[in-house]
Structure formats: structure tokens, C-alpha cells
């Protein structure tokens, strides 16, 4: 379906890059660092897709692969050609996705002093991925604004990059003052409100700095990386099966979807055709997880808006779905349903009945919640026209998932590129055009109804058959991209095998990372008191986000530059600021 589009890309980029259509959904565009920027600029002019991820590969010591070795295609994952043989390069892969199709720009740079130009001017959302690339693989990104470290700690030695193949943990001994010196880009006299990393608003550590002028936020920056554990490198040291349990613990809220993305990818690489019953069970658990995640979010977001009653109610009702998950799998969180080649647990008639009963209860409650989030007057004052992200901005900043759908962007991989059992049991994406915080509530609650409908449909037409296939210990050489729709948006996995018992590269790009740019952008100009609600609006997940970033965005420059104000000055300013009100 994308072949005509691929030919058009080929025609446009012909003089700048060597295009190769490897499967009907994958296209490789090989180019050089010098030609990358013109090629991406020409490509963007076609208005095709969005930048999903940037993957860096260190090919040191990789076994020479046969060019053109293509892993067989499988549902949900899109295999492509193996990279060409090499000994010691860094490959930088820019993945642009549109529906099920992926166009990958490949740039090869030497391991010594690798450098690529920044494409941030053409694709604003690239900046975060480029920061990650420069830190983890030591690829210099020319033109990238200087910034603090993203996910490595400040005592991390310079010139040591954990995703290089010759990295050793001994080289990473803490060094004092090794963080790159960064001058503050805030105007002198700007008042900064620091929040975190230990703070009551979210249960996860993230450090924010908001520059404020009175109550209005004029700039925002975020330093994450408190939960960076080094999972991508850790996966390279584990076998294919062990890595499954590691990626499942990237995030405790959406553990199953991480495991699903990984298993779908590995199964595509190994050429396994998983029994339909296993895929159906995976899908049911995916949707149960989405219900639990959305109810959890509903509570937390309501809590941020000062509506603790809704928090308590939604968390009470969430226990219903937690009970169902526990009944199916034996654990409330980290259910470990997936195996390479299938699932562990069956859903029998009794379990199906209790799921149906649970869903009936939750459906009634969700109707109530939909009514609350759209009619409660005091709640609407915290959500309506707050944190508006226009459709254009949403597309430009590359948001995904419910955040994008609440801005009127129809982007849902379950519909656009069905994986697991979503092919046989299609869903309808829930889209809302209001673009504000209220829309984010409405989209997530309405998605619950879609989850209920889908689960009931699968239970009614559950395919018979086996639950799993034996998985090979070694996985055939090749690379694969596996994309799934997590509760927070598109989750992107890039897996590469050199034919061994361990993965050669596991690259994870989580949905929260895509949405950060939007949130840091949108808080500028809003009231400080609305910031927690807006932050919660994208449902940020720090542990998912374990690759993290520093963003600095400047709004209006700090106009006042008085260094120290007496109480009288402050009061006078307050009166002026609020238009000479009394008090």
C-alpha cells in the first residue's frame, strides 16, 4: 500500500541518497553525513510520516553479514535487510514512520570522531534523540545546542559511551566535575522554581525548573535520568529469553506492552508464526493493561487537579482490573504473560466469565467518569482550555498516543499497523479535536469503552489451538523494527541479531519521550498552578523514559533584571502586575 509512496520518495531523493525498498513496508535510504541534511529536508517536503526514533549502532566486532539477508515478515513487526558487513563503524539510523511503513535513513560514520549534522532545524523532535545518540554512542551531532547531560550522571567520565561495544564498566568510574560546563541561558534575575526530583506530585523522580514571571511560566526545563538504569546495554549481556524479563521491567505500568513489542520483534527475526490463540490472549492482556493504565492515569491526573475524590474512586475501580490480571497470571503487576513464541497462561471459560463481569462493572463506572470529566464545573475550570496543543503543533513536535489523539491527530498503531490479534479484531481510534486538557481526559475515558468492546469481542470469538511454540536459543541474523501502541502511545523497538544467543542491539523508544517536547513547549505562558495538570496530561512515565533528556525552552525573556527586591518592591510589583488591584 505504500509502494507508490516509496517510489515517490525514491524519485525525490534520487540524487542525494541510494534508496532501496527492502519489503513492502520498509525502505532504506543510504546517505552520507554531508548529504543527510539536504536529503531529510527534501524528504520532509513530501510531508510523509514523523520521526519515530534515531538508533545508533556500533558495529565493532559484528559478524560479517550477508547483504540482503531478509528475515521473513510477520504480523506486527517489519523486518528489513541486514546491515552490510563492517568492522568498526557507527551507523546512525533515522526512522520515519507513517502507518505501517518505515523509511530509514542510514548514515555510516567512522568509530573515531564520528560526526553527523543535526536535523533539528528540519525536524524539531529530533533534538532529543540526537542528545541521546551523542551521549550513549559518542557521535558528535554538529549544530545541537549545548546542554546538560541527559541520562548519564554528572560524575560520568567524559569520552566514555555505554552503548559502544568496547565499553567496560570499569571505565565508568565516577569522576568529579566531568559534566560539560553549561552556562545558564536564563536572563539574570529570572526567578526559577525548581521541582523535584523528590516531589509529591508524581511518584517518579524528574527534575523540573520553571522560570516564572509572577504566576506565568516563561521557560521550562527538565532533567530526567534519575531512573536511567542502562537497560539497552543490559539486554546485550543477556540471552534472548533473559532480556524478555528485563524489558518487561522497563516499566511496571505498561510491562506487558514492552514484553509484547520485544517478543513480536524476536519472533519476526526468528521466523516464528505464533498460534492465533496466543496472539488473542496477548491482545486481551494488552487491553486489560490499557484499562488499568488509563484508570490509574485518570486518578493521578485528577489528583493533580485537586480532585482527590475522583482519584480514590478510579483507584478503587482499578482494583477490578487488577484482580482480573491477577486471576489470569498470578501477579498484579509484571504479569509475565509473554514467552518467546507464545503465552504462558490460557483464558478458560471461567476466567472469560469473570472478565466479562468485571468489564460490565467497569463500563458502568466509566460512563460515570465520562460524565464527570465533561460536566463537573469546578473540574472543567482546571481542564477546559488549559494546556492546549494545536493539531499543527502536535504534528510538528511528534506527539504520539492519547496526547496526539486529543489534538485531533488520528494516530493509533492498533488500527494503522495491526499487530498481534488486532488484524482480526480491529479497533476504531478515539480522536478529539478540542486539543486541551479536557480532551485528554475524554479521549482516555472513551478509549476504555473501545477496550471493553474489543475484549468482549475476542472472548466471544477466541481462536482455538496451542498457546506457544518452542523458541530457538539462537535467533537468525538480521534486524527488525517492532512498533506497538502502548497506553501512552507508539512504542518503538529496534532489535538486531548477529545470529547468536544474545541480542546485538535492543533499542527502545518509549512514547513519553516523544511527548516531552510538547509538554515543555506548552507550559510556557500558562499559570504555574496549572503546570502539574499539564504535566500529568501526557501521562509521563519516567521509568519508561529511562533514556532521558534535558530540554530548555525560552519563552518571553525575563524582562525585569532586579537582583534583590525588598518586600515593598515586591508588593508594588504585584500591584502593578495584577493591574492595580486593591489589597
Amino acid at each position: 500500500m505504500s509502494a507508490p509512496m516509496f517510489s515517490r520518495i525514491q524519485e525525490t531523493l534520487g540524487p542525494l541518497a541510494a534508496c532501496r525498498i527492502s519489503t513492502d513496508t520498509r525502505m532504506d535510504i543510504e546517505t552520507s553525513p554531508e548529504r543527510l541534511l539536504p536529503a531529510v529536508t527534501a524528504f520532509r517536503a513530501l510531508n510523509w510520516g514523523f520521526l519515530s526514533a534515531i538508533t545508533g549502532l556500533d558495529t565493532l566486532g559484528a559478524a560479517a553479514s550477508q547483504p540482503g539477508a531478509v528475515a521473513p515478515p510477520a504480523a506486527g513487526a517489519t523486518p528489513g535487510a541486514s546491515p552490510a558487513p563492517s568492522d568498526g563503524h557507527v551507523d546512525v539510523l533515522y526512522h520515519f514512520c507513517q502507518g505501517p511503513s518505515i523509511a530509514t535513513f542510514r548514515v555510516r560514520v567512522p568509530r573515531e570522531h564520528p560526526s553527523v549534522p543535526s536535523i533539528g532545524a528540519v525536524v524539531p523532535s529530533a533534538v532529543l534523540f540526537e542528545r541521546e545518540l551523542s551521549e550513549m554512542l559518542g557521535v558528535e551531532v554538529a549544530g545541537l545546542p549545548k546542554g546538560k547531560r541527559q541520562f548519564l550522571s554528572d560524575d560520568w567520565p567524559q569520552g566514555v559511551h555505554p552503548l559502544r561495544k568496547d565499553f567496560s564498566i570499569e571505565a565508568a568510574t565516577p569522576v568529579a566535575d566531568s559534566a560539560p560546563a553549561v552556562g545558564s541561558d536564563e536572563a539574570p534575575g529570572t526567578f526559577i522554581v525548581p521541582i523535584g526530583p523528590q516531589h509529591p506530585a508524581l511518584k517518579e523522580p524528574g527534575h523540573f525548573e520553571f522560570a516564572v514571571d509572577g504566576e506565568i511560566v516563561t521557560g521550562a526545563s527538565v532533567r530526567l535520568g534519575y531512573v536511567h538504569r542502562g537497560i539497552e546495554k543490559g539486554a546485550e549481556d543477556r540471552s534472548w529469553v533473559q532480556a524478555l524479563y528485563l524489558v518487561e521491567r522497563i516499566c511496571g505500568i505498561c510491562s506487558h506492552i514492552h514484553a509484547t513489542a520485544y517478543t513480536l520483534g524476536v519472533e519476526a527475526l526468528a521466523g516464528m508464526v505464533v498460534p492465533p490463540r496466543a496472539q488473542a490472549i496477548r491482545t486481551i492482556v494488552c487491553e486489560l493493561e490499557r484499562i488499568h493504565s488509563h484508570l490509574l492515569w485518570l486518578g493521578v491526573a485528577a489528583h493533580e487537579a485537586g480532585f482527590d475524590t475522583l482519584f480514590m474512586y478510579s483507584w478503587r475501580d482499578r482494583e477490578t482490573v487488577m484482580d482480573l490480571l491477577e486471576q489470569l497470571t498470578g501477579n498484579r503487576v509484571n504479569y509475565s504473560v509473554n514467552l518467546l513464541g507464545g503465552v504462558k497462561y490460557d483464558i478458560d471459560a471461567a476466567a472469560a466469565d469473570s472478565i466479562r463481569r468485571g468489564l460490565d462493572f467497569l463500563e458502568g463506572r466509566s460512563k460515570h467518569y465520562l460524565k464527570i470529566v465533561t460536566t463537573d464545573e469546578s473540574f472543567l475550570r482546571r481542564t477546559r482550555n488549559v494546556g492546549t496543543i494545536s493539531r499543527e503543533k502536535s504534528e510538528r513536535l511528534g506527539t504520539v498516543g492519547p496526547t496526539a489523539r486529543a489534538s485531533g491527530v488520528t494516530i493509533d498503531l492498533r488500527a494503522a499497523a495491526p499487530y498481534a490479534a488486532y488484524g482480526e479484531f480491529p479497533i476504531t481510534p478515539v480522536v478529539d479535536k478540542r486539543c486541551d486538557q479536557e480532551a485528554r481526559f475524554v479521549v482516555r475515558v472513551k478509549e476504555l469503552f473501545e477496550c471493553f468492546r474489543l475484549i468482549r469481542q475476542i472472548l466471544d470469538r477466541m481462536p482455538p489451538g496451542d498457546l506457544s511454540l518452542p523458541a530457538p536459543r539462537k535467533v537468525a541474523e538480521g534486524e527488525v523494527i517492532s512498533r506497538v501502541e502502548a497506553p501512552r502511545g507508539e512504542l518503538f523497538y529496534y532489535l538486531r541479531s548477529t545470529g547468536g544467543v544474545k541480542p546485538d542491539r535492543v533499542k527502545v523508544r518509549t512514547p513519553s519521550l516523544c511527548n516531552w517536547a510538547a509538554v515543555v513547549n506548552v507550559v510556557v505562558g500558562q499559570k504555574l498552578a496549572d503546570v502539574p495538570v499539564i504535566l500529568a496530561g501526557i501521562d509521563p512515565c519516567f521509568s519508561c523514559n529511562d533514556r532521558s533528556l534535558t530540554l530548555r525552552r525560552r519563552g518571553r525573556a525575563g524582562s525585569e533584571s532586579v537582583e534583590a527586591w525588598s518586600w515593598e518592591d515586591l508588593r508594588a510589583h504585584g500591584l502593578r502586575y495584577y493591574g492595580g488591584g486593591r489589597t
Binding site: 531512573v227 542502562g230 505500568i253 503487576v333 509484571n334
Partner: protein, 205 residues
């Protein structure tokens, strides 16, 4: 409070009131030093209506300066280490630490990853470990209860006995509190312990 010079008996009585209130209404502060979120949402679930930890007087509070117990989750990452120590140091003494989850005990599945310093016990002293990946809410409640029972029994008995020297009958009523301290860590015993301690405290006042 310890800076102020107080007459001995009054000081002891105050200490006993403080211990009584600490056991009956411990305030928790939560810090995630690199967890996958699984334990954190279970801690929140413990506070939500089904388990409702607050009915025991437990309150999750945002500021470490007001907290008695630090609930930690996850392995300790290099960046979070310094903050974890800082949060711990900001808490007023006496302070206690409950490490929730397998990662807090050994580093769990992340053991050996390059950005992991180690388990929580390597960074700050831990009083109670709650194992599980993640532990169930009942287990988390049990962990907190075990901590409280650890605070209560023999030490309080000795304090009470010492206080009895110059004390009245009312004070020995406070000693009656200790009779319940042998109880296990179940919810019922916790509630029961709370009630008895209250009556003891009432006697002391």
C-alpha cells in the same frame, strides 16, 4: 526538641508521647531511586480505598522534613544516589527506612547494569526489606507494621520500667501498652495494637 533543656521526668514523658504518636501515626515519604514504577503504583494502591492504609493513621507526605519513615523503591541509579542520601538526611531523627521490592534488596533484574550503584542498603541504612516484584499491598502493609512493632516492644518496656521509678499508677498504665507488642504483623493485630497503645497513651496523659 532535643536541643531544649527539660527536667528529666518531663523529658521522658514527652519522649513517650512522641513514641506513641510515631507508632500510631507514622508519616511516610516516598522516594523512587530508579524503580520500574511497579512498586510505586503498589504503594499508591496501598493508600487507595481497597487497602486504605490511612485508616491506621499512616499518611504519605510530600516533604521529607515531616516524615518518620522513608519508603524507597528500586535499585539506586548513579544520578538518584545523591538525592536519596539528601532526602534521608533531611528527615528528622529518629528515622526509619523501608525498602520495597526485590530491586531494593539486591538490585534485582537490573543487577550489573552500568548505571546502577547497588541496592538501597548500600546507600542508606534500611530497617525493613519487603521482597517481591512488586510486593503485594498486603506485604507492604506488613512491612510497615513490622517496622512499627520493631519500634515498640522491648525498648518501650525498658523506658516504661525506668519511668515507673518516679511514676504514678497512670504511668504504669502506659506500660500496659507493651502487652500487645508481641502481636504479629497482620492487619488485625495492627489495628488492635493501635487501640491498645491509644489507651496506654491516654493513661500517660
Amino acid at each position: 526538641m532535643s536541643d531544649v533543656k527539660l527536667p528529666g521526668a518531663f523529658r521522658k514523658a514527652l519522649d513517650r508521647v512522641a513514641l506513641w504518636s510515631r507508632i500510631n501515626s507514622p508519616w511516610l515519604v516516598h522516594f523512587n531511586s530508579g524503580s520500574c514504577n511497579g512498586c510505586d503504583i503498589e504503594i499508591l494502591a496501598t493508600l487507595a480505598p481497597r487497602w486504605d492504609l490511612e485508616r491506621f493513621g499512616v499518611k504519605l507526605w510530600g516533604s521529607p522534613r515531616h516524615a518518620d519513615v522513608l519508603i524507597c523503591t528500586g535499585p539506586v541509579t548513579r544520578l538518584a544516589r545523591e538525592r536519596l542520601v539528601r532526602v534521608y538526611e533531611q528527615m528528622p531523627a529518629p528515622k526509619f527506612v523501608v525498602a520495597v521490592g526485590s530491586c531494593g534488596i539486591t538490585g534485582g533484574v537490573f543487577h550489573g547494569c552500568y548505571n546502577i550503584v547497588g541496592d538501597i542498603g548500600e546507600v542508606i541504612p534500611v530497617d525493613v526489606y519487603v521482597p517481591g516484584c512488586p510486593p503485594r499491598p498486603e506485604a507492604i502493609i506488613d512491612g510497615v507494621v513490622q517496622l512499627l512493632t520493631k519500634l515498640k516492644p522491648p525498648k518501650a518496656k525498658r523506658v516504661a520500667r525506668a519511668a515507673r521509678g518516679g511514676g504514678t499508677n497512670a504511668t504504669s498504665g502506659g506500660g500496659g501498652t507493651n502487652a500487645t507488642s508481641g502481636g504479629g504483623g497482620t492487619n488485625a493485630t495492627f489495628g488492635g495494637g493501635g487501640t491498645n497503645a491509644t489507651s496506654g497513651g491516654g493513661g500517660a496523659a
